[in-house]
């Protein structure tokens, strides 16, 4: 059965209604003066702050996005290399997998100042932090994807005379695509947050730097504006990745249409 566009809109309706309700309650609380405006600015004030600082927010977004993209790109590359190495050599897997898990237990806020100390206030420490946080979900996604490749399909290709490289190309790599995209979606969200945290702890520009400035000015309306902007950027990135996934995996839609 084909899914009609109407039904996807209907799927999203409850979430949109809940969000709208929340904003309304928030505005109500502010308008009635239940919470003072300097502690909780109303949605209208946040929108005004967003408009008045639009130029500044955009120029800082460019810095943050650049860092996020660069970090994500390196994270993907590194994750791929690690995943392939771990798949090809079980000894590499046994040696490095626990280390990978340990890197994820280190609190980001604790190592970011160290990275600033080692690499300065420019792009480098931000990118390093993003790489550390993003390459884990990517490596794990790809490794699991490679491991879940159908062993019977691998045998079949072997019987047709395929070597390791061809089995990787025709079976393992395509089998890992869905897992790769799950990992990439998580990594994309991490990359923006990672960039902001790194900027917050030391930098010259970027949304994190902007946040530290509006915080010291007690401009909470601007603080809310930038928080919403960061969420929106993350959601947009995840949406783009979802779109890329749909385009690159047309067979998954074919299955849905049949069932």
């Amino acid at each position: 059965m084909k899914r009609k566009p109407q039904s996807t809109i209907r799927d999203k309706l409850p979430a949109a209604a809940a969000l709208a309700g929340l904003v309304l309650v928030w505005q109500g609380v502010s308008s009635l003066g239940l919470v003072p405006a300097f502690m909780l600015p109303s949605p209208v004030m946040v929108v005004r702050a967003f408009i008045s600082d639009f130029g500044l927010l955009m120029s800082n977004s460019v810095t943050t996005l650049k860092e996020a993209f660069l970090g994500l790109l390196i994270g993907v590359g590194l994750g791929f290399v690690f995943a392939v190495a771990m798949d090809a050599f079980p000894i590499v897997r046994r040696a490095f997998y626990p280390l990978l898990v340990i890197t994820q237990t280190i609190p980001t806020v604790a190592i970011a100042p160290l990275l600033v100390l080692w690499f300065g206030y420019e792009t480098m420490p931000k990118v390093v932090l993003i790489v550390i946080t993003t390459f884990f979900p990517l490596t794990v996604g790809l490794t699991d994807g490679f491991r879940e490749a159908d062993p019977d399909a691998i045998s079949l290709l072997r019987s047709m005379g395929a070597g390791r490289a061809k089995i990787f190309r025709y079976i393992k790599l395509p089998s890992a695509i869905p897992q790769f995209f799950s990992g990439l979606r998580i990594a994309a969200a991490y990359s923006v947050v990672g960039a902001v945290i790194a900027e917050w702890l030391g930098g010259f520009s970027g949304l994190g730097v902007y946040m530290t400035r509006v915080r010291s000015a007690y401009a909470f309306d601007k603080m809310f504006a930038v928080i919403i902007l960061i969420s929106a950027i993350s959601l947009l990135l995840m949406g783009l990745i979802g779109l890329a996934e749909r385009v690159l995996t047309p067979w998954r839609r074919a299955r849905q249409e049949r069932s």
Binding site: S155, M160, G161, Y170, W251
Partner: protein
């Protein structure tokens, strides 16, 4: 053209096959009939070259292919079409593995689609095809790999009865048209009697071929052959030999 000579296989203390020999001639369909867990799959892996036997040889057209994958491919109950490749690209896989350029490989597949009852499905995904059509695509893939011998391991056992008998008829027909020789592994007596020129009974532990039954009536056998006394007689012989 395909000869299996005195093959023995054991995994540690577990002796699975002992002294198994059989011959498949051009255009023949020979079945290996045995109970589950009786070493059928092991024999199958030896013939396809995925497993090297402890003893014995596999010869294809006189060439020793023992333990060498890449000469004889197979088809299973599970069609193993890769979900992320179109039917065309699935069937082209053996050609691509051999180094044929992509466009040539696809062209070659397209030339055979109609013959295998797959016209118009080349650009579809496997998930969009019925079970019977997927099996036909799997057979086309096997055929494009090795045009002489097809090794089939219970290829039709996942299909419903009606599709299955349609596939039987279709298979015998296409096998004669494309001059294919088939080694057919099954646990289904009726299927074996219906399709085979010869039936090799693989029994015992370790498994060995205890009896070879020649099914006389020429193929294709009529719709009512499974209802004939002759058919039942073959069945009785097999049952007695298997001891089931």
């Amino acid at each position: 053209m395909l000869e299996v000579e005195n093959v023995s296989v054991s995994f540690g203390d577990n002796h699975v096959l002992r002294d198994v020999s059989l011959t498949l001639k051009k255009g023949e369909l020979v079945s290996i009939l045995g109970v589950s867990g009786g070493g059928k799959t092991t024999l199958f892996n030896v013939i396809s070259g995925l497993l090297k036997p402890d003893d014995g040889r596999v010869l294809l057209e006189g060439r020793d292919v023992t333990g060498k994958p890449g000469s004889i491919s197979y088809m299973l109950q599970k069609d193993m079409l890769l979900p992320y490749r179109t039917i065309e690209d699935n069937c082209a896989l053996p050609l691509l593995l051999r180094g044929t350029p992509k466009s040539r490989a696809r062209e070659q597949v397209r030339e055979h689609l109609a013959e295998f009852g797959l016209e118009g499905t080349g650009r579809l995904w496997p998930a969009q095809l019925s079970g019977g059509m997927r099996q036909r695509a799997a057979l086309l893939r096997t055929y494009l790999f090795s045009q002489e011998v097809a090794l089939l391991d219970e290829p039709f056992s996942a299909l419903d009865t009606i599709t299955k008998s349609a596939m039987h008829r279709w298979y015998l027909d296409i096998m004669d048209r494309i001059r294919l020789s088939t080694l057919f592994i099954t646990h289904d007596m009726d299927e074996a009697i219906l399709l085979s020129d010869r039936i090799c009974l693989l029994t015992g532990k370790p498994g060995t071929i205890t009896k070879v039954i020649t099914v006389e009536p020429p193929r294709p056998r009529g719709e009512d052959f499974p209802l004939s006394p002759e058919f039942l007689e073959y069945k009785r012989t097999i049952k007695a030999a298997i001891g089931g």
